[in-house]
């Protein structure tokens, strides 16, 4: 057990930490939601995470994503991995720097318990939900976390094994800017669901 994990035991029992560490997480998309969810999950004790993202870091990502100015141009998935390991060096982080498409859904996230859907495009979100609706894996999907002065609350809708988190309205493709407070709060809510499920607070 490393120092980080010893520190976690100030807040969690050994049994709770073991439960959290036994859960295998998949994260689709390492942008605003995915990078923030990943940080929160690793800080919460999760140490087995698979990340898929095809993108490289741009200056316009730094307003909300967990990257830094020297990271511009680097691949997101691998860069995120390096930061997660700097929190918990014993975490097992698998990364794929590649584009995902709906025909390849059966080939990703094998043996994962909880999948975080954090892609940009609404059609990808729909494909994920429709694919996982008859599976036993848990899917936590982000939907609507943009906008300035938004009046819509970020809510969670649950349909069996599917959790949809967001305001369901604000659309980056319709000019709503993704800003850190709302993006991070949506990511935090998604991570909280994963943590609560892992510890049996949600069943």
């Amino acid at each position: 057990m490393n120092k980080f994990e010893e520190g976690l035991l100030k807040y969690l029992s050994e049994d709770q930490l073991k439960k959290i560490q036994s859960i295998k997480i998949g994260i689709g998309g390492a942008g605003g939601l995915g990078s923030n969810v990943a940080f929160i999950l690793v800080r919460s004790g999760f140490k087995n995470i698979e990340i898929i993202d095809f993108d490289n870091i741009e200056a316009s990502n730094l307003n909300r994503q967990n990257y830094y100015i020297d990271d511009i141009g680097k691949p997101k998935a691998e860069t995120l991995k390096s930061y997660l390991l700097s929190i918990n060096p014993d975490a097992k982080i698998i990364t794929h720097h590649k584009k995902w498409d709906s025909s390849s859904l059966e080939n990703i996230f094998h043996g994962r318990d909880i999948i975080i859907e954090a892609f940009d495009h609404p059609s990808q979100k729909k494909d994920f939900v429709e694919y996982y609706q008859d599976k036993t894996d848990i899917l936590i999907s982000g939907n609507g976390m943009a906008g300035l002065g938004s009046k819509q609350d970020i809510i969670t809708k649950r349909i069996n094994n599917i959790f949809i988190v967001g305001d369901n309205v604000t659309d980056t493709q319709k000019g709503h800017p993704p800003m850190a407070p709302r993006v991070v709060s949506c990511a935090a809510k998604m991570a909280e669901i994963a943590l609560d499920l892992s510890l049996g607070f949600l069943t």
């Binding site: 998309g29 729909k126 939900v129 429709e130 659309d171 980056t172 493709q173 319709k174 709503h176 993006v183």
Partner: protein, 69 residues
Amino acid sequence: MLSMKMIINGQEKDFEPSLSLENLIDSLSQNKAHVIAELNGNIIKSSEWVRTTVAEGDKIELVTFVGGG
């Protein structure tokens, strides 16, 4: 029966009888390519919408996905 009542996203609405889920979603002018449909607690894949008949008293929730992640 001239019309049937269903609960759509928590609101009671009247529809013509013998409606498919596909017709119903079309009539609500949703952006179908970004919509998922929950019928009485279960998600119905969009490939099944045409074959799925909705009935009096059904509870339907439609969620439209938006961009951003």
